[in-house]
Symmetry: C2
Subunit: 383 residues, 2 copies
Amino acid sequence: MSSFRFEELHRARASRARRGIFHTPRGPVETPAFMPVGTKATVKAMWPEQLETLGARIVLANTYHLNLRPGPEVVQALGGLHAMMAWDGPILTDSGGFQVFSLADMAKVDEDGVSFRSEVDGSIVRLDAERALEIQSALGSDIAMVFDQCPTSVDDRFEVERAVDRSLRWAARARAWHGERGGASRGQAVFGIVQGGKFEDLRRACARELVALDFDGYAVGGVCVGEGKEAMHLGMEHGAAELPAEKVRYLMGIGAPEDFFPAVRAGIDLFDCVSPTRLGRIAIAFTSRGRVRVKNARFARDRGPLDPACSCTVCARWSVGTLRHLFQAEEMLAGMLLSYHNLHFLLDLMRRIREAIAVDRLDELEADFHSRYGAASAAEEPA
Amino acid sequence: MSSFRFEELHRARASRARRGIFHTPRGPVETPAFMPVGTKATVKAMWPEQLETLGARIVLANTYHLNLRPGPEVVQALGGLHAMMAWDGPILTDSGGFQVFSLADMAKVDEDGVSFRSEVDGSIVRLDAERALEIQSALGSDIAMVFDQCPTSVDDRFEVERAVDRSLRWAARARAWHGERGGASRGQAVFGIVQGGKFEDLRRACARELVALDFDGYAVGGVCVGEGKEAMHLGMEHGAAELPAEKVRYLMGIGAPEDFFPAVRAGIDLFDCVSPTRLGRIAIAFTSRGRVRVKNARFARDRGPLDPACSCTVCARWSVGTLRHLFQAEEMLAGMLLSYHNLHFLLDLMRRIREAIAVDRLDELEADFHSRYGAASAAEEPA
């Protein structure tokens, strides 16, 4: 019996939206949930207890980066990811697949895996289906992702199909490797990743084949690679369509708040994105009136809060004018405060989404959200 | 009646060391006390509640920097320094004198004041005795410092004497300006600054003249400008020798823990320095065994705490190996954690100094401190 289990508490009438609990050996996660990203074993600029205060119950870390530095053996010597992150809750690690294909120098893919050059010491690094799981096992995460080949295009059918087929063969190898080692009952779950670009039939076929392999959970990948909002929403929908109700569903890399609603309606339970901390460090804030550039000169003498509708401690105690000053002065506190605020925004929105699902009022919440968020965003962002 | 008052609780038998309370309209400060420095309206990398947790009761901010950016009018528009720093306790601002003479571009000093070029917008900025107080009044600090001319040398007697004489004329102007506006009873105290380099007679004469002007407190300046430890300790001693027992005494810019002991014996009550956060950001830690370079390769797989004798939350929850990784990965959390630890170290040492004075055991505390701190420091630091 797996110690990872998804419990569906309530399903919406008009969509696949659902409220649930993802049970893990390190505690329950109420879903839909947003998972802050701690790429290199820290959610940037955040103390771990602040994540807890903000309601985060599960965080991510990144196999690609941690494999290069400090390396899985060092992570193990230091007591594993939970010790390094000073985080007792569940941790999910991605497999490194996405980063290899988007970041790595001279990545060469073959049927067996991928080789690339380390950006840290210039050595040649190999990742494949088994090695990616082996590393994640050494890191000590609670949930590992299979290693997949991300297609470089979402609409070149030939290229997408080839990547899906190969990723499925890698997924089967990963499933076998995990099964031989006792599976999730040994403490680490493994999730499969649905790819297939913008093609509904490929997405559905990929999902069915993964489900036949019986993973502990399923992710939808490759829906946030510059394909435009409509294609993204179709990708979510088709990617999640064939996934079973009894397993948790995770949409990889989506952190724009407006995308939460269609994703939740597609049946997504888990989200992650670097957006709150990455945008926070460059002075862009999520607010109830849309995205706001805190460095804007109009805030210089503004004694009011960044977002009057926000209940976070940053909005309660710092004026937007002070936040602007801290960014102008290049103070670390600037990125710390705005990362905190942005994480609060997404985690709080997700909490409201959970409550809305429970009372079948997701449409009302979305309409209310968009009535304020969309308009101001458009005004604030450059064309 | 001034709302600022120094209360001496206990004086050591063998030295001028004393334990006391510096009463301010924003609460009492137990002395000797260390004041963390928030140059540009933030103690770098620290949340204000963390400063409180660590036992800081008073913080500094910097007139030179805040005058250039965002400017005193903007600070005022944003509700003053306490609002900007989210800090309810007392704030001391220095006058900018030290920075003008050490940092400013093309500083030109004349009998009336100093002109220099702004590093922010290139404009010509003027500071003088009255303007420095006017700015500090706009910033809204609780304690303002007089504007003084820092001699560029501590042992060129002609140069030091000239700077002292001019600074005394400026101090008299500052005292008059402050007195005409109601003095400390209006909420802001003003401290005079004893200069005089390494010359005992100049230090004593300067102190006597300042005391005759009747400031709300007195600082000893110019003892940390590269003159060597012995000269530094003589500077403290001679600078503080003529200061009255009923007023608080502040030693400017001293943050090496080993210097706290001779300073406290010279009768010093207040300390400030950027060292804990500045060193913390470049991976240098104060520890019970001396200064430690956290990036040292020998820590790579070290699962133990940075300082086993330390009771701070960083040493309780992060291994020194993890701290090293965070610095190698250039993560913001690295500087945040080490700034926290270093501030804890100095504030905790100051707490132990207060306790030792109360039971007349300062010598024992110092001997115990040096038996571990000195040796390791020498081993760790490059020659």
